[in-house]
Amino acid sequence: MRVEILEVLEGHFGKDKDITVDSHMMDDLGGDEFDIVDVFVQIESKLGISIPEEETFDIMTVSALCEVVERHVGSD
């Protein structure tokens, strides 16, 4: 599942970016708040899940992103 998340992140921010679980989507990957919402929409579409919006607020790091996605994979 992390592979899919990484694919989405690379597709969105660029393969040249050094994306790790510690990466901050704004500070390290250069995104903005809209990019983060966009990434969630793409991940939901790719994995066929639905994540309540409230759970995505203030998520900035890849690790937090993975965590919230993992909670919903299989539960949907």
Binding site: E10, D35, V37, D38, F40
Partner: protein
């Protein structure tokens, strides 16, 4: 005979005096005309100087207007770039961002972002009107810490990367 010669001399002297008088009168008349012409020329010079001064003032005013227009243009360009970044950003895969679609999929998230940006815009106006920068604004060096609406005035220590 001598009387005739005297008469001739007398007429010559008389005609010479009359000629001299006429010449002096003519010079006086010419002098008056020249004085009048000179006065007219002086008036014309003054008028031309007034016109030149007015033209200089007009040029100055036009330069000020041009400067103001250039400033407005720069601001509009910056605003347009900001709007482009916000609404038309293209991701690494070449897909253009569609804020409208995002708002349909995640309305609360987009509303939250817009509310935050609105607060940032209000803060921009405060700063522009002279409000001092906070420690937080001065120390902002990361993208997640900045005021995205007016970074250049709100976060002087932020260097875009």
């Amino acid at each position: 005979m001598l009387g005739q010669i005297k008469l001739v001399f007398f007429f010559m002297l008389l005609s010479g005096a009359a000629g001299g008088l006429w010449y002096v009168q003519h010079l006086k008349a010419e002098n008056e005309i020249l004085t009048l012409n000179n006065a007219k020329l002086n008036d014309a010079v003054e008028q031309q100087q007034a016109v030149i001064e007015q033209q200089l003032r007009d040029i100055e005013a036009k330069t000020e207007i041009a400067d103001q227009l250039a400033k407005n243009n720069a601001k509009l360009t910056a605003d347009l770039e900001l709007a482009n970044e916000k609404f038309n950003k293209v991701n690494a895969s070449g897909e253009r961002r569609d804020v409208g679609n995002l708002a349909l999929s995640k309305p609360k998230s987009i509303e939250r972002i817009e509310r935050k940006r609105e607060q940032q815009r209000a803060r921009c106006f405060e700063i522009a009107q002279g409000s001092p920068l906070t420690e937080e604004e001065l120390n902002a060096t990361k993208k997640s810490q900045i005021n995205a609406e007016c970074t250049n005035i709100a976060n002087p220590n932020y260097i875009p990367y």
